[in-house]
């Protein structure tokens, strides 16, 4: 799956709540229509980004995927600013 994104946050190796805390900081700087990609190794981030996108009024969770990078499971989240 190839999804276009404008900026990336690498939260690999970080635990809850750091992936969403770091995502928020970057998300705030986005302009409407731009997409943020977040890389995380925390399996809980899959549900966390669903909940986060529900709570943040101008965030839309476009896609989530799982890939393997350097032998580690990586959870990738795409969030678009409405």
């Amino acid at each position: 799956m190839e999804i276009r994104y404008d900026i990336e946050v690498d939260a690999r190796g970080l635990q809850c709540p750091m992936p969403i805390v770091n995502a928020r900081k970057t998300f705030q700087s986005l302009q409407s229509g731009q997409t943020l990609r977040v890389l995380a190794t925390d399996p809980g981030s899959v549900n966390d980004f669903k909940g986060w996108a529900n709570m943040v009024a101008d965030a839309e969770l476009v896609a989530q995927e799982t890939t393997e990078i350097d032998g580690k499971m990586v959870y990738v989240h795409y969030v678009r600013k409405k």
Binding site: L14, Q15, C16, P17, V21, R24, V56, A57
Partner: protein
């Protein structure tokens, strides 16, 4: 029947303007009243515990909520106050207050865990385990919560009872009472006691 029916249609088609105005005003008042009652996008917490693990949980929730765009208020009372101390003062205190001051931790670094503390060894072990897993240390969590704009209030009554002075508490922490907590709690979507 037909006469009554026609009458009703005629009335509906030509409404009295002053009646409409009255209805709009009444509805507006109801909307305002509902809006005043509806909660903000806010989370309120009482942090009563002075255990490292519990205070950490409070800060994880606080920073997670703040990162999700919620307003967050944390009210530190009783043992929870020890997490907000940055120094130990003995001047101007009663004997019991001095004892309390010496026997309770100063700041998050002195907090023990709620189980298996073993005189602080447990707390050190937990901190090491958290570091190994990439969990931020509680001191970073406190800083992060404050950077995210979390409102931190220290309970005045607990401070008076325990003899904790304002200058022993971290800078930028507000002081308040139960009404301060309730004012925020009553317009919160969620309220927690930790």
């Amino acid at each position: 029947m037909t006469t009554n029916g026609q009458m009703a249609v005629i009335e509906r088609a030509s409404p009295d303007l002053s009646t409409l105005h009255e209805q709009v005003e009444r509805l507006q008042a109801q909307v305002d009243a509902l809006r005043a009652q509806s909660p903000d996008n806010r989370l309120s917490m009482v942090v009563f515990s002075g255990d490292l693990d519990r205070v950490l949980a409070a800060f994880v929730i606080a920073s997670g909520a703040a990162a999700s765009g919620m307003e967050v208020s944390m009210f530190f009372t009783f043992w929870g106050l020890t997490a907000l101390r940055h120094k130990r003062e003995s001047r101007g205190k009663t004997l019991f207050q001095k004892l309390m001051g010496w026997m309770t931790p100063v700041g998050t670094r002195g907090l023990g865990v709620s189980k298996m503390n073993f005189g602080g060894v447990g707390a050190k072990m937990l901190r090491t385990m958290m570091r190994q897993q990439g969990v931020p240390q509680i001191e970073e969590m406190v800083q992060m919560a404050r950077d995210l704009g979390v409102r931190i209030v220290a309970c005045q009554m607990s401070m008076d009872v325990m003899g904790i002075h304002k200058d022993e508490i971290l800078d930028g922490v507000e002081v308040g009472g139960v009404a301060t907590f309730l004012a925020d709690a009553t317009r919160s979507k969620a309220t927690l006691f930790i």
